[in-house]
Symmetry: C2
Subunit: 443 residues, 2 copies
């Protein structure tokens, strides 16, 4: 047992500093969710295997963690698994609780998910997702609100982002007009990689996937679309005017952009870019309308937020015809972006306002009474529990980022004061309880 203990690969411990930063991220996202009327739910960590299997493709099935009771026989097929995302459990929740829910149902959910992926930099086997969805309405007001929520979240973080917008109906229309309607999945899978592998390789892949040379050629102007969103829309509309589905997608996108613009004010800054991106495909098959993806402008990193509209997510659980739209914020990647850009506000460090450091037992009791009085004013206060050397007590305050030390010796007890030390400047001042309280409350 003398061997140093460890945790399973791909998992993490979070220190107090990391937790205060993570809480800052979750609190910021949550407060924007609530600003738009979304309500929190939680679902169990474990779901029936039948709920999870077959929802994430063959690859996904292999990445599920299965759970066995210790009491169960080895080899017995486990009936439970850890959730893989928050979307499928949400669909299951909606179907299971349909009688209690009032539609449209706006929900958010912030919980960990588990994937037996090969661990690597930035990819973990346990990580948090922050999902927000509204189901039971196909109103484009919802897409518009989600865009505004993304803008608000990143504006609060101070992260400059570009939000890419596409529509599955436009992609379907493109497949239609280039004469490869049945190859829509191959097309989206290939062009999804444009960013990573470049146009030549995408075209090669399209040919390998069985598209005709002519179809690939006809796809090129669409992939290379440039100009303002309005100009892009114009060109897409011209290309797709023979496809009913495609034109429906164009109309949806135009309406979302119009609604979004109608609530923008001069005060809004340029830290947020919303741009049509026909190369955005997103892997998941359940999307049927708008799709979104967000990238940070100042950091090299994959998508930090993504989502879209789905018309039949609850259909897999026997409740068809419930349209919804949602997005998911990737807390771990946002953490990395904030760290790389050094954007954490100073106040995010959840710390103690003052540490009482004392020279002996009597002084410590005196400090406990002062501490009690400060806490009754809501001031986060610690008393160093041992009568250790003053140097050790000061280094404790330093290590924990505590701004003030209130030092108590015999002299302070006699004069009913403490020696208040600013740990950053080293300044010291003898103060009364009233002055101490005032100093700390004003922080």
């Amino acid at each position: 047992m003398a061997q140093k203990p460890s945790i399973p690969k791909g998992t993490r411990d979070f220190s107090p500093l990391e937790m205060s930063r993570r809480n800052y991220i979750f609190d910021t996202i949550r407060s924007v969710f609530r600003l738009y009327g979304y309500r929190q739910i939680e679902t169990p960590s474990m779901e029936q295997m039948s709920t999870l299997m077959g929802k994430y493709g063959e690859e996904g099935d292999k990445l599920l963690f299965r759970i066995q009771n210790s009491g169960e026989k080895a080899g017995e097929a486990p009936e439970k698994g850890l959730r893989y995302d928050l979307t499928v459990p949400f669909a299951r929740y909606v179907v299971q609780h349909r009688e209690e829910l009032q539609f449209p149902f706006r929900r958010y959910q912030i919980q960990p998910v588990w994937r037996a992926d090969r661990p690597q930099k930035g990819r973990y086997r346990e990580f948090y997702q922050c999902d927000v969805d509204v189901v039971g309405t196909d109103s484009l007001v919802c897409e518009t609100e989600l865009i505004k929520m993304v803008e608000e979240v990143y504006s609060r973080f101070g992260i400059r982002v570009s939000m890419h917008l596409n529509n599955r109906k436009i992609l379907a229309g493109i497949a239609e007009v280039i004469g490869e309607e049945d190859k829509i999945t191959d097309i989206t899978t290939a062009i999804d990689k444009l960013d990573k592998i470049g146009a030549d390789n995408v075209n090669k892949e399209l040919l390998e996937r069985g598209l005709s040379r002519e179809a690939v050629d006809r796809l090129q102007p669409i992939l290379r679309l440039e100009g303002s969103n309005e100009q892009k829309l114009q060109q897409i509309a011209e290309t797709l005017n023979q496809s009913e589905t495609g034109m429906k997608g164009v109309e949806e996108m135009r309406e979302v952009l119009r609604l979004y613009e109608s609530t923008r004010t001069a005060a809004d800054n340029n830290a947020f870019r919303l741009e049509i991106d026909l190369t955005l495909a997103r892997g998941l098959n359940y999307y049927t309308g708008a799709i979104f993806e967000v990238k940070a402008l100042d950091v090299q990193m994959g998508s930090i937020t993504g989502g879209g509209r789905y018309d039949n997510l609850t259909g897999i659980f026997g409740m068809p015809g419930v349209s919804g739209v949602g997005i998911s914020f990737g807390a771990d990647r946002i953490y990395d972006v904030l760290t790389e850009l050094n954007l954490y506000p100073a106040y995010t460090l959840e710390t103690t306002a003052v540490l009482f450091a004392t020279f002996g037992e009597k002084e410590r009791e005196y400090a406990m009474q002062w501490a009690d009085s400060l806490r009754r004013q809501g001031i986060n206060t610690e008393v160093y529990p041992d009568c250790s050397k003053m140097k050790k007590q000061m280094s404790y305050a330093d290590a924990n980022g505590i701004e003030y030390a209130a030092i108590v010796g015999g002299n302070e007890m006699e004069t009913n004061t403490v020696m208040l030390k600013n740990m950053q400047t080293g300044e010291q001042q003898q103060v009364s309880l009233e002055m101490l309280t005032q100093t700390l409350i004003q922080k």
Copy 2:
């Protein structure tokens, strides 16, 4: 697939109403933890099986949930398991991160734990624990602060409680003076049941466990101890004056009570009772000093908080000599107590301040702009996304506990107003954006 989906037995979905109540509980507990300078950590849901096995007794081992990757062969022994409590992962954390930590280390941790217990009323297979511990000091200041934290938490909840206090050294001393030093575990296991099975059955069990009739007789006055804490201490000291360990326990208890009393003020009410209870044993073997347990006075329910001091918890991971003390709040039982006593403050319902209900598309766009303006003031606002019948929109506001509806028709658009309806009283009033903002900000 048409079968209604379900979740594994012993697990739960939490609705928005339940979540807002649970958040109220967690936030209250967390803010008291922070008031005393405790810092949050989180550990992974899964730990190595070697970390978990053998820490909870034979029964505990059987209740561990084991995890397999889907890729692993069936029958292969899983090396990972879901955490069973927050104490063992915390001990593992302290040992693993000893170089980075500053002792004394005050930490809190609020996370779910999993036990493959037979599910029954009030007992779940996934539930949250709220743990607070300080390690690296044996100062009794810590016990005192934990008692005060318990008092503060339940005072904020408005729950009247009694906190039972005992000390493992006193229990050891009792075993010693009745001549049954080696039967300390049998004695504590038996008298732990006094509440449930009564004195006669406890005595019967003690005899069955091999105690002499004389020893059982000598135990009786100690079990039936009455009077004030001071009177009890007096009697225990007399009984134990031949046991060094026992007297050490008496001294510790006396000091903790004295320190606690020294910070009480006249303002403190009588909703909190702190009482010596020699029949309190607590099952876990790692306790070595003070032990605590808290019960609600006005509800029939088991312990809602408990803990104690341990001198060698990290020893199992190869780091001996680290004393610590901690307590754990049972969020689920607190939830049940608050529900039964109807003690949730009205504001705990995390809801939207106003719903815009509109008569058509133009009105909805107008509402979106108003909503945007309110949100910029931090007011939680929803726009009903569809142009449904007004009755449906009103019933949505009702079902979601939204206090105000802002109704928009052609007349309102012409006069640049909304019709503000108080959903509880039914009162309606035509208001400007400024008046609306003022009304909602003052809430």
